[in-house]
Amino acid sequence: MRAGVVALVLGLATAAAAQPTLTPFPDDPPPAHAGPRPAPPPPGQPAPSQPAPPPLTPITPPPPVRPPPAEAALPGVTALEVVAPPNDDGRHLRVTFTRAPDVADDVVTAVFRRVHGAVGAPPVYPTLLAPAVGDAPRTWDPTFAGAADLPVGAPATGDAIGPWTLTALLEGGEQLVVDEVPPGGTYEYVVAELRRGPGKAVLASSVGAAIGPRTPEAALVNTDRLGYLGIVLLIAGLIGYYVRAAKGRKQDLYVRRLPGVDAIEDAIGRSTEMGRPVLYVTGLEDIQNIQTIASLLILGHVAEKTAQYDTDLTVANYYPLTMVVAEEVVRQGYANAGRVDAHRPERCLFITAEQFAFAAGVSGIILRDRPATNIYFGTFYGESLLLAETGFLTGAVQIAGTAELTQLPFFITACDYTLIGEELYAASAYLTKEPTLLANLKAADAFKIAAMLFIVIGVTLATMGVFHLGPAVFK
């Protein structure tokens, strides 16, 4: 028999046949010759809970069923542990183990999983190798369960062997696998080392280390994100506090001037005097982007003003869904001004969802219609300067606002007014002058002071080597 050709048995496969008293998993269906299960508890007594996962015990190599090994067996893995990862969604189990030192490069680690108690195959673990035929190397057969003829092929992740699934085939010496499992199940694992030969056919295997049953656990709160939840709750609390305070006040809350927002009404007035339209661009992101949402909130105010001034408003959109919402926002703005009849839906345009084609389309509108005011609020990328420079060439008053850091210099250079970062989000509240919304700005400012204090304290503690505040709060 060719050297290196060994009969492979996973886990306690052959133990079931050779040593009936050794069962790897507590709930395994007993073999035919095994004794009966323990009697159920008497009525009135609680059923025993699911047995605790057995501690890892070295697996006694069972005597091989198939041809005896002609060379020293591969050392198996030790310290096998399977646990549910913390903060998991209930779909994962983390498998860790320790490989023997000095494992050869042609040895890979195979991780097998089955549903706890699955009995779709013989009650012994399947042999992984086909029987030897002549001098041909042993080959892997995913469907081989111990009774078939010579199969062909190499093991691959996802192979099914009876009730077992090869969930991972680790070729880089990894000793950790996070296995994605169907939620709600209980699983058993076997980890074995495989030596592969030509064509990645398996030549030899270690005895598998077995563990189980294990159940994935779905967490209800991600504790790693509690720091972020604290920020949101703190801001929400500050908003609540300032809204309450604002309702009790007789005088307006003080909010610093935003020249870019103040300039909107002036620019619309200029458009009216010149008899030219106002162009509003909602940015290059879809409706779920917070900058697009902020842009659409401002659009409502701009539409109301253009309706009051009886000036045409053209809205250029990158996505059709944004266009649909923008049209509704503009309609509402006209309704707020009592000018629903003046609303022209066809002036809310879907240009295209291609970046530079959009830039070309909007540039065409700027050059043909010559709007006296161009407003760019939202998310912008490389086309920002193309738009702003084209608008500059036509002599339009240009107001831009974005939180995209890379585009701010372009807008600042080419536009008359630029809302930087948070000013874009504050603009809608600033325009309404409603105390409840201005209270929102005050809350954000209060939180900024808290954040500054946090940074100063954190930097001081870290510099003094006392404590790293940031990593402790935000994992």
């Binding site: 969604d89 994100r225 059709p320 926002v329 066809e346 065409g364 939180a403 874009l424 509240a429 919304l437």
Partner: protein, 306 residues
């Protein structure tokens, strides 16, 4: 009622999206995926509305022969051509999906003591077709070519070098002395991966896109020229920083002194980075506040006045 229902729907879905970030349970994730599917369906439907919008905007201008109406014709014609080219017409017919494989007579038995002959694959494909027989890759010449392979299962693939054509693929199990003939002509595909669509995209849209992007260099130059005029203290600071940055990044600055590259890097790492972080943090806080404003129902301007 007209305002309350949208407000409540917005609050509920917004609160769910917020809570989902902190609840890792898979059932919450499944519900979130379901909502995302709804959003995807809405977004897809909106593209139909977008197409109708383009028609509504451009067709009247063509009919009234408004200035530059010719461009609108090009727009609609381009959209129509891409729509037609983007539909998978090839699925209507019975285009082949795998090459024709014919088993031929077996090779002569080997003389005693000699190993049996390896299977032979005769390939007959057009000149612009590439073939893969097992591990052997070659280009067709229009003539019959022979490829020897090892016994066992052999993968046979025929494809064209240019994109937009189907790949014909099959498998054959061969033993010693087998001979097979492989023939096939990968058909042209339509649709997003089809020849016409890909050709227009690569040869018309791609160059036009690149041209427009290249214009950015000139716009940057003109904008920089305006920005770097030292009209006030801030503009003078900007001009000074820009001069140091250009000298630090260009080989000339390094040739004059090592100070320029080091100072340029310091400008990026310290003042610029500090400013960027401040803007980012301010924007993040503003985004949270705006989101909460909508979720809590404080922001109602998009729903109209009472």
């Amino acid at each position: 009622m007209k305002k309350t229902v949208p407000l409540v729907i917005g609050m509920l879905f917004g609160a769910f999206a917020l809570a989902e970030f902190y609840i890792p349970h898979h059932q919450v994730g499944a519900l979130s995926n379901e909502f995302r599917s709804w959003a995807a369906i809405l977004a897809s439907s909106a593209f139909i509305i977008g197409g109708i919008n383009i028609l509504q905007v451009t067709w009247p201008k063509i009919r009234r022969r408004e200035p530059d109406w010719g461009y609108k014709v090009v727009l609609l014609a381009g959209a129509a051509v891409m729509l037609l080219a983007g539909l998978p017409w090839h699925k209507l017919g019975d285009a082949p999906t795998h090459p024709t494989v014919t088993f031929g007579p077996r090779l002569p038995a080997p003389a005693p003591g000699e190993p049996p002959a390896a299977p032979a694959v005769f390939v007959k494909v057009p000149a612009d077709v590439t073939y893969q027989i097992g591990a052997t890759v070659g280009a067709g010449t229009g003539r019959l070519e022979v490829v020897r392979v090892a016994p066992g299962e052999v993968t046979i693939k025929l494809s064209r070098r240019v994109p937009g054509y189907a790949t014909l693929e099959t498998k054959a199990t061969l033993i010693e002395r087998d001979t097979i003939t492989v023939e096939g002509d990968p058909p042209m595909m339509w649709g997003r991966d089809g020849r016409v669509f890909v050709w227009i995209y690569e040869h018309v849209f791609g160059p036009a896109n690149a041209t427009l992007f290249a214009l950015l260099a000139f716009f940057v130059a003109s904008a920089a020229f305006r920005a770097f005029r030292a009209r006030n203290t801030e503009a003078a600071l900007l001009l000074g920083a820009a001069i140091f940055m250009m000298l630090g990044r260009a080989p000339l600055g390094g040739a004059i002194s090592d100070v320029f590259p080091d100072f340029a890097q310091w400008l990026l790492d310290v003042p610029s980075n500090g400013g960027r972080r401040a803007i980012m943090m301010g924007a993040a806080i503003g985004a949270i506040a705006t989101g909460l404003r909508v979720i809590l129902g404080l922001e109602r301007s998009h729903l109209g006045n009472d």
